[in-house]
């Protein structure tokens, strides 16, 4: 193509699309989309966001980039998306903590960094139940023994978590309340340090995601007692759920979902939902999630909204029950 012809084509293209874009009617998507992961690279949010972005890119035939906006347990990135322009070009890959942070802000009486209703849910990507593990040499062989012993010795059995009001903390709190026991909480700065604490014998128990605990269960260092899901985890078919054991309120998932800011036009949201449906069916996406040992749990529309609402209610309840630590003293 000669230079003159190129220029002519460019001019024609501009002439064609100019009036459309001028009145904000450009076809969506027509420029790169940013998917914000509010946690550092290497974490669950980041590792889920990368294959989601790659699959969306293939479906939408439009660049989708992941940006890590980290800080304050995810609040920085979530606030960034909550207040960004609702045009479908800034999306959020959030974890369960999106429902926890505003509640924690509330009980401290500080202005919330964001609220849950600032987001429009697009799709749920994965939802892994946490699994209760203890060290292999510990006396508890079943969840029943663990709970009975915890009932006899209130506040004596300790567990580590990824931080106060963090996902691993909330899972244990929901169990404590469902079973009516009191456990001792040792917060650590993340899921990695929480795992180190139990492997080193500094705490007795831990609730964490299947992908995190599986290698150590397989090597015989940790024993899995029960899961928080509504059904058993495929990789641990012998491990019962708390629901089976008679604690239906002990239900908790570390989930990952895609959100847009509230106010994003409905046609754009519809296009994104459709694209997400294509993305989770993408073979490469499936292979990537398989390697992360995270089963895809796709939900969207009313299903996702119902799941999100129920989860947010459970977590808000959990945070309120924990309350402020210093008020307990």
């Amino acid at each position: 193509m000669t230079r003159r012809r190129l220029r002519a084509v460019a001019a024609a293209a501009i002439a064609l699309f100019w009036p459309l874009s001028a009145v904000g009617q450009e076809p969506y998507p027509s420029r790169p989309i940013t998917l914000v992961a509010p946690f550092p690279p290497g974490g669950v949010a980041d590792l889920t966001a990368r294959p989601v972005a790659a699959a969306l890119e293939r479906v939408l035939k439009n660049p989708v980039g992941v940006v890590n906006k980290t800080g304050a347990a995810g609040a920085v990135g979530m606030q960034f998306v909550a207040t960004s322009k609702p045009d479908g070009y800034t999306l959020l890959l959030a974890l369960s903590s999106i429902s926890i942070i505003p509640e924690a802000d509330k009980i401290f009486g500080r202005p919330p960094a964001f609220t849950v209703d600032q987001f429009a849910p697009i799709a749920l990507v994965s939802a892994d139940p946490t699994i209760l593990v203890v060290r292999a040499e510990s006396p508890w062989k079943t969840a029943k023994e663990f709970i009975e012993d915890a009932g006899k010795r209130p506040g004596q059995i300790s567990y580590s978590s990824s931080g106060i009001y963090g996902t691993l903390h909330m899972a244990m709190e929901l169990l404590s309340h469902a079973a009516g026991v009191r456990l001792r909480h040792i917060p650590t700065p993340g899921a990695g340090p929480a795992l180190t604490a139990i492997l080193g014998g500094h705490v007795d128990a831990l609730a964490s995601g299947p992908a995190v605990i599986l290698p150590h269960v397989k090597s015989g260092k940790l024993r899995a007692l029960a899961g928080w899901g509504d059904r058993r985890v495929a990789a641990l078919p012998d491990v019962p759920t708390f629901k089976e054991l008679g604690y239906p309120d002990a239900e908790f998932y570390i989930w990952a979902g895609v959100f847009a800011p509230k106010g994003t036009p409905e046609p754009v949201l519809a296009r994104l939902r459709e694209a997400m449906r294509g993305a989770v069916a993408d073979a490469e996406f499936k292979a990537a999630m398989d390697k992360l040992q995270t089963p895809i749990a796709f939900k969207q529309g009313a299903d996702f909204q119902a799941f999100f609402d129920a989860d947010a209610r459970r977590l808000a309840d959990g945070v309120r029950k924990v309350g402020r630590v210093e008020d307990k003293k």
Binding site: G42, L47, G71, H185
Partner: protein
């Protein structure tokens, strides 16, 4: 032993295959650049490059990421020595004596010694990693919050050795640093402390913006404030190499730094930063001429630079042997393995021998590559000092701002750097030293968290610190050190610090 050597043979056959060699080289090169850029440390470098490794196979990805990690430790010393800007947090100590050496025209020597020290430390600690990984990893896990607190309190004693001038002033600065470390979300209760509604302050003040501000920006402001610009240093070629005396004086610090760095690096937490602080203090205490520290003592470069390199290999021990991240950087590397379907954990060595031994062997190769890469670069980098200040300083400021911004993509970090630069300049005018502030800032959150975790574990009983043997032993060492110093102080009325102060004033105490 024989089996290990056989395995290592397998490892080298992997590591020396052209593609792996290429990725190791690329990793080392990127690491050096990441280290040289002010502010951008290995964590930022690895995080930025992690997505790029998703298309590679697991061994290539992990070899390249590790190359970035230890390569950054080589590069981190460059700007510390030449411009008093820490390339990454573990190079803060190198700023003090390395920059002083550069001012005396020994910048090339300092760079060469840092590179050789890093090479020795890197290589020896891989030997340690190879033979001792499983037993050491098990030991490292026994280091819980009480043990960590005891170690950190020892680190706090290091503060006493950081200054050559007024003890009171340096303690005041350390206290200020500890207070700065209180900013951010309280890990135990979820409170936002001193954040004033700025969500970005939730994670506290970053070590990198504070260190770049206090050292680099303050230095630039101070130089710009002089009535006549300082003379441009013109290094001559034969001055690039360390003298025989400098080699002799750095050999023991390199050995000690290697051992210290490796042992501290194994421990869970961000230990590699502390390793350089501790090494500096040890060298100053053991030195026959402690008065030279702060004025270009070669041991003050050799020790910490070796320690931070050895600590990177140490940090790999729990990661490879147990699948447990010992800090943020190994955590990212573990994630990289998971992305490739390699499940990290205690079974890694048996299930993935080619990956494990290839990785070990690539670290030997990588350290050689870095030495070959860095020694000729010394001649190049030193020439930066020839650039006249009116051109050099604005360029450095631009790179500092870019580097600090790039770490978190946060403008708040840039403002922290600017504020700390002005503060650092004022403190220099008032003859306060700023290194204790950085140490305080590094230590405060760790001390607080481990103290409160320990007390949560024991339900509030302080007995936990003496009931656990490792913690009790470390605390006993700390107590002995304090008592020894007190004894000397009471007996002679003078300790070595006052002798230094007197020597600096031109009085002779001997």
């Amino acid at each position: 032993m024989l089996e290990t050597l056989g395995n290592l043979g397998l490892g080298f056959s992997v590591a020396l295959s052209p593609p792996i060699l290429l990725y190791a080289f690329v990793g080392c090169l990127v690491g050096t650049m990441v280290g040289v850029l002010p502010g951008v440390g290995p964590l930022a470098g690895i995080s930025l490059l992690l997505p790029a490794t998703f298309g590679l196979d697991a061994t290539r990805a992990i070899v390249m990421l590790a190359g970035i990690y230890y390569g950054a430790m080589y590069g981190g010393s460059t700007t510390s020595i030449l411009m008093r800007i820490p390339g990454e947090a573990a190079s803060v100590m190198t700023c003090i004596d390395g920059y002083a050496m550069a001012r005396r025209g020994r910048g090339g020597a300092a760079l060469a010694i840092a590179a050789v020290g890093s090479y020795v430390a890197g290589t020896l600690s891989v030997v340690g990693l190879m033979f001792l990984a499983p037993p050491l990893a098990a030991f490292a896990l026994r280091f819980g919050p009480p043990e960590y607190l005891a170690l950190l309190l020892l680190g706090l004693l290091v503060l006493a050795y950081m200054s050559s001038g007024s003890m009171l002033k340096s303690l005041a600065m350390a206290a200020f640093g500890l207070l700065l470390g209180m900013v951010g979300i309280d890990q135990m209760s979820g409170y936002f402390r001193f954040a004033y509604g700025v969500v970005e302050l939730g994670d506290g003040l970053g070590v990198v913006p504070v260190a770049v501000g206090l050292f680099g920006v303050a230095e630039i402001l101070a130089t710009a404030g002089q009535p006549a610009p300082p003379e441009v240093i013109k290094p001559r070629l034969r001055e690039l190499l360390p003298s025989r005396r400098e080699w002799r004086e750095s050999s023991a610090p390199i050995a000690r730094g290697t051992l210290l760095g490796f042992l501290i690096g194994i421990l869970p937490g961000s230990a590699h930063v502390i390793s350089s602080f501790v090494s500096y203090a040890v060298e100053k205490r053991l030195s026959r001429r402690p008065q030279e520290f702060g004025h270009g003592a070669v041991a003050g470069v050799a020790g910490p630079e070796s320690a931070n390199n050895a600590a990177t290999s140490g940090a790999m021990v729990p990661m490879l042997a147990l699948g447990v991240p010992s800090g943020p950087i190994p955590a990212v590397m573990l994630a990289a393995m998971m992305v490739h379907g390699v499940s990290p954990g205690p079974l890694l060595i048996q299930q993935q021998p080619a990956l494990f031994w290839g990785f070990i062997a690539s670290m030997y190769v990588g350290n050689v590559v870095l030495l070959i890469l860095n020694l000729p670069l010394v001649g190049l980098f030193v020439n930066i000092l020839r650039v006249p200040y009116p051109y050099l300083y604005p360029a450095i400021l631009v790179f500092s701002i870019l580097g600090v911004y790039a770490v978190n993509g946060s403008v708040v970090d840039v403002w922290i750097m600017v504020a700390m630069g002005i503060l650092g300049w004022l403190l220099r005018k008032l003859e306060f030293e700023t290194a204790p502030i950085v140490l305080g800032l590094v230590l405060a959150p760790m001390i607080e968290l481990s103290l409160r975790q320990s007390l949560a574990m024991s339900d509030g009983h302080y007995g936990i610190f003496v009931q656990r043997p490792i913690a009790a032993a470390l605390l006993a060492v700390g107590l002995t050190l304090v008592l020894m110093n007190l004894y000397a102080f009471v007996r002679r009325g003078l300790d070595w610090r006052s002798r230094i102060a007197m020597a600096e004033r031109g009085e002779d105490s001997s």
